[in-house]
Protein backbone atom coordinates (compact mmCIF):
# COMPACT_ATOMS: atom_id res chain seq x y z
CA UNK A 1 0.00 0.00 0.00
CA UNK A 2 1.44 3.34 -1.02
CA UNK A 3 -0.35 6.43 0.11
CA UNK A 4 0.87 9.93 0.75
CA UNK A 5 -1.55 12.44 2.19
CA UNK A 6 -1.17 16.03 1.07
CA UNK A 7 -0.03 17.32 4.45
CA UNK A 8 1.73 20.61 4.94
CA UNK A 9 4.68 20.42 7.30
CA UNK A 10 5.74 23.48 9.21
CA UNK A 11 8.62 23.59 11.66
CA UNK A 12 7.83 24.83 15.13
CA UNK A 13 9.80 25.17 18.33
CA UNK A 14 7.85 22.74 20.49
CA UNK A 15 6.51 19.35 19.39
CA UNK A 16 3.18 19.35 21.18
CA UNK A 17 2.16 22.80 19.91
CA UNK A 18 3.57 22.05 16.49
CA UNK A 19 1.60 18.86 15.96
CA UNK A 20 -1.66 20.52 16.97
CA UNK A 21 -0.93 23.54 14.78
CA UNK A 22 -0.04 21.38 11.75
CA UNK A 23 -3.04 19.06 12.22
CA UNK A 24 -5.45 21.99 12.55
CA UNK A 25 -4.06 23.52 9.39
CA UNK A 26 -4.86 20.28 7.57
CA UNK A 27 -8.49 20.70 8.67
CA UNK A 28 -8.59 24.28 7.47
CA UNK A 29 -7.94 26.13 10.72
CA UNK A 30 -4.94 28.44 10.84
CA UNK A 31 -3.64 28.63 14.37
CA UNK A 32 -0.07 29.55 15.17
CA UNK A 33 2.26 27.75 17.53
CA UNK A 34 2.26 30.54 20.16
CA UNK A 35 -1.54 30.58 20.03
CA UNK A 36 -1.73 26.84 20.70
CA UNK A 37 0.80 27.25 23.49
CA UNK A 38 -1.03 30.14 25.15
CA UNK A 39 -4.53 28.65 24.90
CA UNK A 40 -3.15 25.35 26.17
CA UNK A 41 -1.59 27.21 29.17
CA UNK A 42 1.83 25.83 28.33
CA UNK A 43 3.85 28.25 30.46
CA UNK A 44 4.73 26.92 33.88
CA UNK A 45 7.48 26.49 36.40
CA UNK A 46 8.20 23.65 38.78
CA UNK A 47 11.16 22.49 40.80
CA UNK A 48 10.84 19.11 42.48
CA UNK A 49 13.95 18.18 44.47
CA UNK A 50 12.63 14.73 45.38
CA UNK A 51 11.95 13.79 41.76
CA UNK A 52 15.27 12.96 40.15
CA UNK A 53 16.30 12.02 36.63
CA UNK A 54 19.81 10.56 36.39
CA UNK A 55 20.31 11.61 40.00
CA UNK A 56 19.54 15.29 39.35
CA UNK A 57 16.41 17.07 40.67
CA UNK A 58 13.90 17.98 38.00
CA UNK A 59 13.24 21.59 37.12
CA UNK A 60 10.67 22.18 34.43
CA UNK A 61 9.28 25.15 32.53
CA UNK A 62 6.21 23.36 31.20
CA UNK A 63 3.35 21.20 32.46
CA UNK A 64 3.48 17.42 32.10
CA UNK A 65 3.45 16.08 28.53
CA UNK A 66 -0.03 15.86 27.05
CA UNK A 67 -1.50 18.62 29.20
CA UNK A 68 -1.28 21.39 26.58
CA UNK A 69 -2.84 18.98 24.13
CA UNK A 70 -5.75 18.18 26.41
CA UNK A 71 -6.45 21.82 27.21
CA UNK A 72 -6.30 23.09 23.66
CA UNK A 73 -8.68 20.42 22.39
CA UNK A 74 -11.16 21.17 25.17
CA UNK A 75 -10.93 24.93 24.78
CA UNK A 76 -11.28 24.97 21.00
CA UNK A 77 -13.75 22.10 20.76
CA UNK A 78 -11.54 19.78 18.73
CA UNK A 79 -12.35 16.11 19.26
CA UNK A 80 -9.51 13.63 19.03
CA UNK A 81 -9.71 9.87 18.77
CA UNK A 82 -6.99 8.29 20.92
CA UNK A 83 -5.81 4.70 20.91
CA UNK A 84 -3.15 2.57 22.55
CA UNK A 85 -2.27 -0.95 21.51
CA UNK A 86 -0.76 -3.78 23.48
CA UNK A 87 0.51 -5.44 20.29
CA UNK A 88 3.07 -3.45 18.26
CA UNK A 89 2.13 -5.08 14.95
CA UNK A 90 -1.50 -4.15 15.51
CA UNK A 91 -0.46 -0.56 16.27
CA UNK A 92 1.28 -0.48 12.90
CA UNK A 93 -1.55 -2.07 10.90
CA UNK A 94 -4.07 0.32 12.47
CA UNK A 95 -1.83 3.19 11.42
CA UNK A 96 -1.83 1.83 7.85
CA UNK A 97 -5.62 1.72 7.89
CA UNK A 98 -5.73 5.37 8.98
CA UNK A 99 -3.33 6.44 6.25
CA UNK A 100 -5.38 4.52 3.72
CA UNK A 101 -8.41 6.55 4.75
CA UNK A 102 -6.40 9.75 4.31
CA UNK A 103 -6.14 10.59 8.01
CA UNK A 104 -2.87 12.20 9.12
CA UNK A 105 -2.14 10.53 12.43
CA UNK A 106 -0.33 11.96 15.42
CA UNK A 107 1.60 9.79 17.80
CA UNK A 108 3.87 9.70 20.80
CA UNK A 109 7.36 8.31 20.39
CA UNK A 110 10.63 7.91 22.27
CA UNK A 111 13.48 10.11 21.13
CA UNK A 112 16.40 7.80 21.86
CA UNK A 113 16.02 5.63 18.76
CA UNK A 114 14.81 8.40 16.47
CA UNK A 115 17.33 7.98 13.66
CA UNK A 116 17.11 11.48 12.19
CA UNK A 117 17.63 13.23 15.56
CA UNK A 118 21.01 14.85 16.31
CA UNK A 119 22.98 12.50 18.59
CA UNK A 120 23.64 14.99 21.42
CA UNK A 121 19.87 15.23 21.94
CA UNK A 122 19.12 11.52 21.94
CA UNK A 123 18.09 10.81 25.53
CA UNK A 124 15.46 8.37 26.75
CA UNK A 125 12.66 10.90 26.54
CA UNK A 126 9.36 9.33 25.58
CA UNK A 127 6.84 12.09 25.12
CA UNK A 128 7.82 13.40 21.70
CA UNK A 129 5.01 14.06 19.22
CA UNK A 130 4.99 13.69 15.46
CA UNK A 131 2.54 13.15 12.61
CA UNK A 132 2.68 10.27 10.14
CA UNK A 133 1.10 11.28 6.86
CA UNK A 134 2.14 8.68 4.34
CA UNK A 135 3.71 5.38 3.46
CA UNK A 136 5.71 4.29 0.45
CA UNK A 137 7.10 0.78 0.37
CA UNK A 138 8.68 0.23 3.79
CA UNK A 139 9.03 3.95 4.52
CA UNK A 140 6.70 6.07 6.60
CA UNK A 141 6.54 9.80 5.92
CA UNK A 142 6.96 11.80 9.09
CA UNK A 143 6.15 15.39 9.90
CA UNK A 144 8.20 16.00 13.03
CA UNK A 145 7.49 19.54 14.22
CA UNK A 146 11.02 20.23 15.37
CA UNK A 147 12.59 19.33 12.00
CA UNK A 148 12.88 21.75 9.03
CA UNK A 149 11.48 19.30 6.52
CA UNK A 150 9.73 15.97 6.44
CA UNK A 151 11.61 12.81 7.44
CA UNK A 152 11.11 9.11 6.84
CA UNK A 153 11.34 6.09 9.14
CA UNK A 154 11.20 2.44 8.14
CA UNK A 155 8.50 0.14 9.49
CA UNK A 156 10.86 -1.29 12.10
CA UNK A 157 12.30 2.09 13.10
CA UNK A 158 8.84 3.55 13.63
CA UNK A 159 7.66 0.49 15.54
CA UNK A 160 10.68 0.74 17.79
CA UNK A 161 10.16 4.38 18.78
CA UNK A 162 6.43 3.78 19.31
CA UNK A 163 7.31 1.11 21.84
CA UNK A 164 10.10 2.88 23.69
CA UNK A 165 10.18 1.89 27.36
CA UNK A 166 10.52 3.82 30.60
CA UNK A 167 8.85 6.96 31.96
CA UNK A 168 5.87 8.02 29.76
CA UNK A 169 6.23 4.87 27.64
CA UNK A 170 4.02 5.58 24.62
CA UNK A 171 2.67 2.01 24.17
CA UNK A 172 1.83 2.75 20.55
CA UNK A 173 -0.36 5.71 21.50
CA UNK A 174 -1.78 7.44 18.45
CA UNK A 175 -4.40 10.12 17.91
CA UNK A 176 -6.21 11.85 15.11
CA UNK A 177 -8.84 14.54 14.62
CA UNK A 178 -12.35 13.14 14.75
CA UNK A 179 -14.24 16.38 14.75
CA UNK A 180 -12.98 19.89 14.29
CA UNK A 181 -14.91 23.16 14.48
CA UNK A 182 -15.46 25.07 11.23
CA UNK A 183 -13.80 28.12 12.65
CA UNK A 184 -11.76 28.47 15.80
CA UNK A 185 -13.44 30.68 18.41
CA UNK A 186 -10.32 32.16 19.87
CA UNK A 187 -11.57 34.92 22.19
CA UNK A 188 -13.00 32.79 24.99
CA UNK A 189 -10.26 30.20 24.65
CA UNK A 190 -7.53 32.83 24.98
CA UNK A 191 -9.03 34.24 28.17
CA UNK A 192 -9.40 30.76 29.64
CA UNK A 193 -5.82 29.94 28.73
CA UNK A 194 -4.43 33.13 30.29
CA UNK A 195 -6.50 32.75 33.47
CA UNK A 196 -5.26 29.22 33.94
CA UNK A 197 -1.62 30.23 33.49
CA UNK A 198 -1.98 33.08 36.01
CA UNK A 199 -3.53 30.65 38.47
CA UNK A 200 -0.73 28.12 37.96
CA UNK A 201 1.97 30.72 38.39
CA UNK A 202 0.49 32.58 41.35
CA UNK A 203 -1.74 30.46 43.53
CA UNK A 204 -0.72 26.81 43.77
CA UNK A 205 -0.34 26.43 47.54
CA UNK A 206 2.84 24.33 47.41
CA UNK A 207 6.31 25.89 47.31
CA UNK A 208 7.46 23.85 44.30
CA UNK A 209 5.29 25.46 41.63
CA UNK A 210 4.93 28.77 39.83
CA UNK A 211 6.53 31.92 41.20
CA UNK A 212 6.95 30.24 44.60
CA UNK A 213 8.85 27.48 42.87
CA UNK A 214 11.36 29.95 41.43
CA UNK A 215 11.96 31.40 44.90
CA UNK A 216 12.31 27.89 46.29
CA UNK A 217 14.89 27.04 43.64
CA UNK A 218 16.77 30.25 44.42
CA UNK A 219 17.12 29.17 48.08
CA UNK A 220 18.22 25.67 47.10
CA UNK A 221 20.71 26.89 44.53
CA UNK A 222 22.42 29.22 46.97
CA UNK A 223 23.33 26.18 49.09
CA UNK A 224 24.35 23.88 46.25
CA UNK A 225 28.14 24.44 46.46
CA UNK A 226 28.20 24.00 50.24
CA UNK A 227 25.93 21.00 50.22
CA UNK A 228 27.05 19.18 47.10
CA UNK A 229 30.64 20.18 46.33
CA UNK A 230 31.81 21.91 43.17
CA UNK A 231 31.26 19.22 40.60
CA UNK A 232 27.80 18.08 41.62
CA UNK A 233 26.61 21.64 42.23
CA UNK A 234 27.58 22.47 38.65
CA UNK A 235 25.65 19.44 37.35
CA UNK A 236 22.53 20.40 39.31
CA UNK A 237 22.68 23.99 38.10
CA UNK A 238 23.42 22.98 34.52
CA UNK A 239 20.27 20.86 34.49
CA UNK A 240 18.12 23.94 35.17
CA UNK A 241 19.49 25.63 32.08
CA UNK A 242 19.16 22.47 30.02
CA UNK A 243 15.44 22.45 30.83
CA UNK A 244 15.20 26.18 30.22
CA UNK A 245 16.85 26.15 26.81
CA UNK A 246 15.83 22.64 25.75
CA UNK A 247 14.80 22.13 22.13
CA UNK A 248 11.27 23.36 21.82
CA UNK A 249 11.17 26.14 24.37
CA UNK A 250 11.78 28.80 21.74
CA UNK A 251 14.29 30.32 24.19
CA UNK A 252 14.21 31.37 27.87
CA UNK A 253 11.96 28.59 29.13
CA UNK A 254 9.03 29.42 26.80
CA UNK A 255 8.94 33.05 28.01
CA UNK A 256 9.61 34.45 24.53
CA UNK A 257 7.00 32.18 22.97
CA UNK A 258 4.50 33.38 25.54
CA UNK A 259 5.28 36.95 24.50
CA UNK A 260 4.47 36.06 20.91
CA UNK A 261 1.17 34.62 22.13
CA UNK A 262 0.27 37.76 24.09
CA UNK A 263 1.02 39.92 21.08
CA UNK A 264 -1.29 37.84 18.90
CA UNK A 265 -3.89 37.76 21.67
CA UNK A 266 -3.83 41.54 21.98
CA UNK A 267 -4.91 41.79 18.32
CA UNK A 268 -7.65 39.17 18.63
CA UNK A 269 -9.08 40.69 21.82
CA UNK A 270 -8.29 44.24 20.79
CA UNK A 271 -6.54 44.71 24.11
CA UNK A 272 -3.45 46.98 23.93
CA UNK A 273 -2.48 46.14 27.50
CA UNK A 274 -1.60 42.62 26.41
CA UNK A 275 0.78 44.05 23.86
CA UNK A 276 2.65 45.99 26.55
CA UNK A 277 2.82 42.83 28.61
CA UNK A 278 4.18 40.93 25.60
CA UNK A 279 7.25 43.21 25.75
CA UNK A 280 7.52 42.85 29.51
CA UNK A 281 7.71 39.05 29.33
CA UNK A 282 10.44 39.39 26.70
CA UNK A 283 12.46 41.41 29.25
CA UNK A 284 11.83 38.70 31.84
CA UNK A 285 13.02 36.16 29.28
CA UNK A 286 16.22 38.19 28.91
CA UNK A 287 16.78 37.81 32.67
CA UNK A 288 16.42 34.03 32.34
CA UNK A 289 19.01 34.16 29.57
CA UNK A 290 21.28 36.13 31.89
CA UNK A 291 20.84 33.37 34.45
CA UNK A 292 21.90 30.88 31.76
CA UNK A 293 25.04 32.90 31.05
CA UNK A 294 26.09 32.79 34.71
CA UNK A 295 25.32 29.08 34.81
CA UNK A 296 27.36 28.48 31.66
CA UNK A 297 30.32 30.02 33.46
CA UNK A 298 29.75 27.96 36.61
CA UNK A 299 29.59 24.79 34.54
CA UNK A 300 32.71 25.68 32.61
CA UNK A 301 34.69 26.08 35.85
CA UNK A 302 33.04 23.04 37.34
CA UNK A 303 36.05 21.68 39.15
CA UNK A 304 36.38 24.56 41.57
CA UNK A 305 33.66 26.25 43.58
CA UNK A 306 32.55 29.24 41.62
CA UNK A 307 31.65 32.43 43.40
CA UNK A 308 28.74 33.07 41.07
CA UNK A 309 26.20 30.93 42.94
CA UNK A 310 25.07 33.87 45.04
CA UNK A 311 24.70 36.05 41.98
CA UNK A 312 22.70 33.29 40.26
CA UNK A 313 20.42 32.84 43.28
CA UNK A 314 19.90 36.61 43.56
CA UNK A 315 18.97 36.76 39.90
CA UNK A 316 16.44 33.95 40.31
CA UNK A 317 14.83 35.82 43.18
CA UNK A 318 14.66 38.93 41.03
CA UNK A 319 13.06 36.94 38.20
CA UNK A 320 10.51 35.48 40.64
CA UNK A 321 9.51 38.95 41.77
CA UNK A 322 9.30 40.19 38.19
CA UNK A 323 7.11 37.25 37.22
CA UNK A 324 4.88 37.70 40.24
CA UNK A 325 4.22 41.32 39.28
CA UNK A 326 3.81 40.33 35.64
CA UNK A 327 1.18 37.65 36.20
CA UNK A 328 -0.77 39.87 38.57
CA UNK A 329 -0.94 42.54 35.87
CA UNK A 330 -1.85 39.93 33.27
CA UNK A 331 -4.69 38.64 35.40
CA UNK A 332 -6.03 42.16 35.76
CA UNK A 333 -5.66 42.89 32.06
CA UNK A 334 -8.15 40.23 31.05
CA UNK A 335 -10.65 40.48 33.87
Amino acid sequence: MDKIINFEHKQSAHCENGVVSNLMKFYGIEISEPMVFGIGSGLFFSHMPFLKVNGIPVTSFRPLPGVIFKRISRRLGIKFEKKKYSKPDKAMSELDKNLDKGIPTGMLVGVYHLTYFPDPYRFHFNAHNLVVYGKKGDDYYISDPIMDKYETLTYNELKRVRYAKGLFAPNGHMYWVKESPEKAKLEKAIIKGIKHTCKDMLTIPVPMFGVKGIKFLSRKLRNYPKKLGARKAASYTGQIVRAQEEIGTGGAGFRYMYGAFLQEASEVLNNPELKDLSFEISDIGDKWREFAVITGRIVKNRNKVDESYDAAADLLLKIANMEEAFFKKLKKAIS
Binding site: A13, G238, Y256
Partner: protein
Protein backbone atom coordinates in the same frame (compact mmCIF):
# COMPACT_ATOMS: atom_id res chain seq x y z
CA UNK B 1 15.34 39.59 23.01
CA UNK B 2 15.86 41.36 19.73
CA UNK B 3 15.99 39.27 16.56
CA UNK B 4 19.42 40.66 15.78
CA UNK B 5 20.68 39.38 19.16
CA UNK B 6 19.71 35.73 18.62
CA UNK B 7 23.02 33.90 19.12
CA UNK B 8 24.58 31.68 16.48
CA UNK B 9 27.23 29.79 18.47
CA UNK B 10 27.80 26.52 16.70
CA UNK B 11 29.19 23.63 18.76
CA UNK B 12 27.79 21.05 16.37
CA UNK B 13 25.12 20.03 18.89
CA UNK B 14 22.51 19.86 16.12
CA UNK B 15 24.93 18.19 13.68
CA UNK B 16 23.59 20.32 10.85
CA UNK B 17 20.30 18.42 10.94
CA UNK B 18 18.13 21.45 11.65
CA UNK B 19 18.20 24.86 13.30
CA UNK B 20 16.13 25.80 16.30
CA UNK B 21 13.53 28.56 16.03
CA UNK B 22 13.99 31.18 18.74
CA UNK B 23 11.20 33.69 19.37
CA UNK B 24 12.36 37.28 19.38
CA UNK B 25 11.34 40.85 18.55
CA UNK B 26 12.08 42.34 15.14
CA UNK B 27 12.93 46.03 14.51
CA UNK B 28 9.20 46.94 14.50
CA UNK B 29 8.54 45.28 17.84
CA UNK B 30 6.77 42.30 16.31
CA UNK B 31 7.46 38.78 17.47
CA UNK B 32 9.08 36.51 14.93
CA UNK B 33 11.26 33.41 14.92
CA UNK B 34 14.94 33.36 14.05
CA UNK B 35 16.66 30.05 13.44
CA UNK B 36 19.67 29.45 15.60
CA UNK B 37 22.47 26.87 15.44
CA UNK B 38 23.17 27.19 19.15
CA UNK B 39 24.16 29.32 22.11
CA UNK B 40 27.34 29.06 24.18
CA UNK B 41 25.80 28.69 27.67
CA UNK B 42 23.48 25.99 26.36
CA UNK B 43 26.32 24.22 24.54
CA UNK B 44 28.28 24.34 27.78
CA UNK B 45 25.59 22.68 29.92
CA UNK B 46 24.90 20.08 27.24
CA UNK B 47 28.59 19.24 27.04
CA UNK B 48 28.81 18.92 30.82
CA UNK B 49 25.90 16.44 30.84
CA UNK B 50 27.66 14.38 28.18
CA UNK B 51 30.97 14.54 30.06
CA UNK B 52 29.28 13.01 33.10
CA UNK B 53 27.84 10.23 30.96
CA UNK B 54 31.12 9.59 29.16
CA UNK B 55 33.07 9.38 32.41
CA UNK B 56 30.63 6.77 33.66
CA UNK B 57 30.92 4.81 30.42
CA UNK B 58 34.74 4.87 30.62
CA UNK B 59 34.77 3.76 34.27
CA UNK B 60 32.47 0.86 33.42
CA UNK B 61 34.62 -0.10 30.44
CA UNK B 62 37.61 -0.39 32.76
CA UNK B 63 35.65 -2.60 35.12
CA UNK B 64 34.58 -4.90 32.32
CA UNK B 65 38.18 -5.19 31.15
CA UNK B 66 39.24 -5.96 34.71
CA UNK B 67 36.69 -8.77 34.83
CA UNK B 68 34.59 -7.14 37.55
CA UNK B 69 31.53 -6.58 35.40
CA UNK B 70 30.01 -8.21 32.31
CA UNK B 71 29.81 -6.45 28.92
CA UNK B 72 26.12 -5.88 29.60
CA UNK B 73 27.09 -3.36 32.28
CA UNK B 74 29.09 -1.43 29.68
CA UNK B 75 26.37 -1.42 27.03
CA UNK B 76 23.83 -0.40 29.64
CA UNK B 77 25.83 2.75 30.41
CA UNK B 78 26.72 3.29 26.78
CA UNK B 79 23.00 3.32 25.93
CA UNK B 80 22.24 5.82 28.71
CA UNK B 81 20.13 3.24 30.51
CA UNK B 82 19.76 2.16 34.10
CA UNK B 83 18.90 -1.32 35.36
CA UNK B 84 15.22 -0.56 35.60
CA UNK B 85 14.96 0.70 32.01
CA UNK B 86 16.98 -2.21 30.62
CA UNK B 87 14.78 -4.62 32.57
CA UNK B 88 11.72 -3.11 30.88
CA UNK B 89 13.26 -3.46 27.41
CA UNK B 90 14.18 -7.07 28.20
CA UNK B 91 10.90 -7.95 29.87
CA UNK B 92 12.81 -9.21 32.93
CA UNK B 93 12.67 -8.44 36.61
CA UNK B 94 15.33 -6.01 37.78
CA UNK B 95 17.15 -8.59 39.92
CA UNK B 96 17.61 -10.76 36.87
CA UNK B 97 19.28 -7.99 34.89
CA UNK B 98 21.43 -7.14 37.91
CA UNK B 99 22.69 -10.73 37.98
CA UNK B 100 23.60 -10.53 34.30
CA UNK B 101 25.93 -7.64 35.07
CA UNK B 102 28.20 -10.11 36.83
CA UNK B 103 30.61 -12.03 34.56
CA UNK B 104 29.87 -15.29 36.38
CA UNK B 105 26.19 -15.21 35.40
CA UNK B 106 26.75 -13.57 32.03
CA UNK B 107 28.96 -16.46 30.92
CA UNK B 108 26.11 -18.88 31.53
CA UNK B 109 23.48 -17.03 29.49
CA UNK B 110 21.85 -18.94 26.65
CA UNK B 111 21.82 -17.75 23.03
CA UNK B 112 18.25 -16.59 23.12
CA UNK B 113 18.81 -14.17 25.99
CA UNK B 114 22.07 -12.95 24.49
CA UNK B 115 20.37 -12.29 21.15
CA UNK B 116 17.75 -10.25 22.93
CA UNK B 117 20.30 -8.15 24.79
CA UNK B 118 22.18 -7.58 21.54
CA UNK B 119 18.98 -6.46 19.83
CA UNK B 120 18.17 -3.98 22.61
CA UNK B 121 21.71 -2.56 22.39
CA UNK B 122 21.59 -2.40 18.60
CA UNK B 123 24.65 -4.62 18.16
CA UNK B 124 25.22 -8.19 17.00
CA UNK B 125 25.49 -11.12 19.40
CA UNK B 126 29.15 -11.54 18.42
CA UNK B 127 29.84 -7.93 19.33
CA UNK B 128 28.18 -8.48 22.69
CA UNK B 129 30.29 -11.56 23.39
CA UNK B 130 33.59 -10.22 22.12
CA UNK B 131 34.39 -7.08 24.08
CA UNK B 132 37.65 -6.35 22.23
CA UNK B 133 35.75 -4.13 19.80
CA UNK B 134 34.79 -1.87 22.67
CA UNK B 135 38.14 -1.64 24.41
CA UNK B 136 38.77 1.83 23.05
CA UNK B 137 36.55 4.51 21.66
Amino acid sequence: MKSTDVPQDDANMLQGKFKEPVYSLDENGNYTTVKSVGWDPKNEVMQEAWDVINEKVEATREKVLAGELSPIAFHLENNLMDVSLLAKYMGFWKWKVKRHLKPKHFNKLNDEVLEKYAEVFDISKDELMDFTKFTKK
